[in-house]
Structures are given as C-alpha cells and as structure tokens.
Symmetry: C2
Subunit: 277 residues, 2 copies
C-alpha cells in the first residue's frame, strides 16, 4: 500500500491532504489601552484607567455574552495577519504592536466543533481611534487584584455592566506552565476568554519592567507623571516619583515643551527615545 517515491516533487504530486483530520482555527485579540479620565477639578490629576476592548456576541454560541474580538483564520493568511485584520476591523488602526500570547486547544472550548484558538495581545493608544467604536463593542476598565499568591480577582466594568471572576494561579503540575482556570462557568464572558484576559495582563505586567512596550500605549508627547501613572495602573501599585524618573530616564527624551495650566509647576513633555518619528 505504501508507495515509494524517489523525489519530493513526486511525493507532493500524489499527496492526499485529507489523510489527517482537520480542524478550524481562530484568533482572539486582547486589545489593551490606558484611558485618561478627565476630572472636574482643575487641580486634580486625571485618573488613568487600564482597559480592554470587548465585543458583545450577537450570534450563537454565547449569544449576548461579551468576548474578545476574533475570527476564523483564512487559508492564505498567517495567524498574525488574521489578528491584525481583526484588530483593524475593530479599531481602524494599522501598524499596531501585537504579540502572540498563547494557543488554547481544550477539546471542548467551543461548543460548535473542535476549534483551536491563538490569542494575541495588542497595545494601543486609545486616543488614536478617530471614528467611534462599532456599536457592539465597548471598553471595560480592568482591575486585577492578586488576592493571595495563587488567586486573582478580576473585575471588568464599563459604567453600566460589571463582570467579575476569580482565577486560580496554581499550576497544574510542576510540569507545565499553564494556569489552572477555576471559574467553572462565567455567565457574562464567552469561551475561555477569562484566562486569555489574565494571561495578557500578566504578560504586560512582566514585560513593562524589562521592555519598552509601554510606549505603544502612550501618545507621542507625555509627561513623566502621566507615564508613571500608566505604570502604576498596570502594575497595580504606587511608585515613588524620584525612583521612577531614575529608572525611566534613559528611555525618554526631554523636549522643550511643557504642559501648563494645572495650578502647579508645569511639567516637561517627554518623548520615547526609540520612536521612529
């Protein structure tokens, strides 16, 4: 039965691609950003919030639940291209920082059929979105609290609705790197997206300390206090200004512009040293 081939061309000509079982793949994309909430008090600093973009499903399965933007990949695009396509459809933004997070493959993660999904995370400066968001999509502010060393509590809220869940940080065994997911059923989030959200936030939290990816969420010019707030809201802790400035000093470049009008000493505007323009 096994035919012997003498060259790769010959083999490929005969190849029957239905020999192995097939499945569908999707990409899900966790779009993260920081917002500036204007406060009424001129003296009070605006409060930065960390937020992610969710869309409401208007079809089955998980009809009317929230989920990450995503979609099936096409046969002529890579996963990354697929994620970028979804990202652009959702935000109208191109050339966005995007990073592969993890590929989720639980056999029953989708009730329709076997679907493996690769999650990406994207970092954007929310203010660059010119047009309104699509009707069914919405920013949710994130608060992620490490309750114990092994337990996360996550709260997502968009002003009207609140979604919360607990995630167990414990590793399955010591033989793997995956989180165990302890939310038996979340009634507001679709699929395995809670764990995607936490994986992405964790990744950002780590990488913000040893890479420059945070600048993908910043406008071109910013004050060091603003940048510090972004760090604070992502790391979920207060930082001391002198130390923060010391650490960030070699990544940023002072411009000769300042931001005035705040009722206190004006702050110098900085820009990212590594920026292309």
């Amino acid at each position: 039965m096994e035919k012997k081939y003498s060259s790769e061309e010959e083999f490929l000509k005969d190849y029957d691609s239905s020999m192995f079982e097939k499945l569908s793949m999707t990409t899900d994309i966790l779009i993260m950003s920081v917002s500036t909430e204007e406060s009424e008090n001129y003296r009070k600093l605006e409060e930065k919030k960390f937020s992610i973009l969710l869309v409401k499903r208007d079809d089955y399965p998980y009809k009317d639940k929230w989920c990450l933007p995503g979609g099936f990949i096409k046969m002529d695009e890579t996963l990354e291209e697929s994620a970028n396509r979804v990202l652009e459809a959702e935000t109208n933004l191109k050339n966005i920082y995007i990073e592969q997070l993890y590929t989720f493959s639980d056999v029953d993660r989708d009730p329709r059929m076997r679907i493996v999904s690769t999650a990406y995370m994207a970092l954007i400066d929310k203010n660059k979105i010119k047009d309104d968001l699509k009707e069914n999509s919405c920013w949710f502010n994130v608060s992620l609290v490490e309750e114990t060393e092994k337990k996360y509590k996550v709260v997502l809220e968009n002003g009207k609705e609140e979604i919360s869940f607990i995630l167990n940080k414990k590793l399955k065994e010591q033989t793997t790197d995956r989180y165990e997911f302890s939310v038996a059923k979340n009634d507001k989030l679709a699929f395995d997206h809670p764990i995607v959200i936490v994986s992405g936030i964790e990744r950002l939290k780590n990488k913000i300390e040893y890479t420059d990816i945070v600048f993908n969420m910043m406008p071109k010019y910013f004050t060091l206090s603003e940048l510090q707030q972004v760090y604070e809201v992502i790391l979920n802790k207060k930082l001391l200004a002198p130390d923060f400035r010391r650490i960030i000093a070699n990544k940023v470049e002072k411009t000769d512009q300042v931001r005035k009008g705040k009722g206190h000493r004006p702050s110098a505007l900085f820009k990212y040293k590594g920026s292309k323009d």
Copy 2:
C-alpha cells in the same frame, strides 16, 4: 437564508461545521537536556554540554533531513497532550516539564498543505532515559553564539554531523515580537525548525534566571559546581562561584552526602528545595 434560533441548543443542532475552512495542526517538541561528558583525566571536571534531540525524517517531505520530534494532533487531544504523547514516544518518559513556546503559521511552512504547528519545549534529565533512543533520533550538542546584538550563530553537532545556521534577531517591525528568520534555506534541517530551536533556547536562557526550571534537567542530587556548569553552558558564559552560590542558596538544600574521589576537597551534594520527593 439566515435562520434565527431561540436557544443555543437549537443552534448547535443545526450547526454545519464545514462552514469554515479547515487545516491540520501539528506539535513540534524541542527536547533539551544537559549531558555529562566523562573525561579520561580523573582530575579534570567532566564537561557539561547542552543538547537537543533531533530525529531524521525517513519520509517525504524533507526526507533524510533532521527535524524536531512532532506529529499531527488528534481530534480528542489538546496540543499539550499531543506534545506529551510525542515526548513519551520518543523518550519513554512521563511527567516531564513541558511549556508552550510559540505557534508557527506561515502559509507555506509545509509543502504538503496548510499546517499550523505549535512548538513546545521540554526539559529532561537525559540520564533518566533508560532504553536506547530510537534508531533515527540523536542528541545534538548546541552552541549558540550571539555574534552581534542582532545575529545568532547556531551550531549543532552529534559527533558525526554538523548543522549550522545563522539567525537574524531583528524584529520584523517594532510592532511584533517575532524574530525574522534569515536562513533562506537550510539544507540539513526541515521546516521552520531552526527558528523553533532558537526560540526555545532563548526562552530557557531567560527563564533560567527568574524561575526554577533548571532543576527539571538535574538529577535528584547534584553538587553546586555541577549546577553552576549547567547555568554556564545554557547562558554561554562563565560565572563566579561565590556569587553563584549566593544566588542559588535559597533554592537548594544541602544533604549530608558528599562526592569524593576527585583528587580535591569533596563537594557536598545538594537537592532542589521545591522537589516533590
């Protein structure tokens, strides 16, 4: 044409899973270990080498080229289960540390058809392999040299054969995390496996500094010099013993056994504090 459903059950009953294009998925697994090369001189310390397991393909495509162990996933197993299955088939080992590396999805990465592959890395203590390896598989010592900040040179050798390639570390844009792969064609390694190998070594290099994964490659009892050599061969640089001992001190536990007979002060045997047994 769009039928309206009133419940998820109803929707799923009607669902046509052929609606979206499908593809095959494989897992590839990068099995890494450190070897102890016995030296003839009783005084000379054995030299540790860092090595990975490759198998020679005996079918098309890439017949007679070396590649990572791997295989198609089944419809009733997760990617991780698939990787573990391949790992066990290759080494007869169970309960091995395994970690998802990256999912590769270039459209033409396999000449047969569209195949997306998720790469895993596994860390083993080579000495635990009781039986011989399969006939077509073989350990290759790795030397990975960072030639410039953006350029890697990798040399794999198994005593008879040498495989080398250059990999460009430059990121595609600043909008992604993927390495650009500069080996137009490698005539000894199949598929995109050169980049998988480098990704895995990089990951290990990083994680060895802030996690305890190195102990997955160690026997139960070891001397601190042996452990230091493992660090040195992975990080590809010499470390100072006093500083190394200081850093590693709280991760290991001294036993009351020693290793004698080397013509110098005997070394205490240690074990990993976090080990289960």
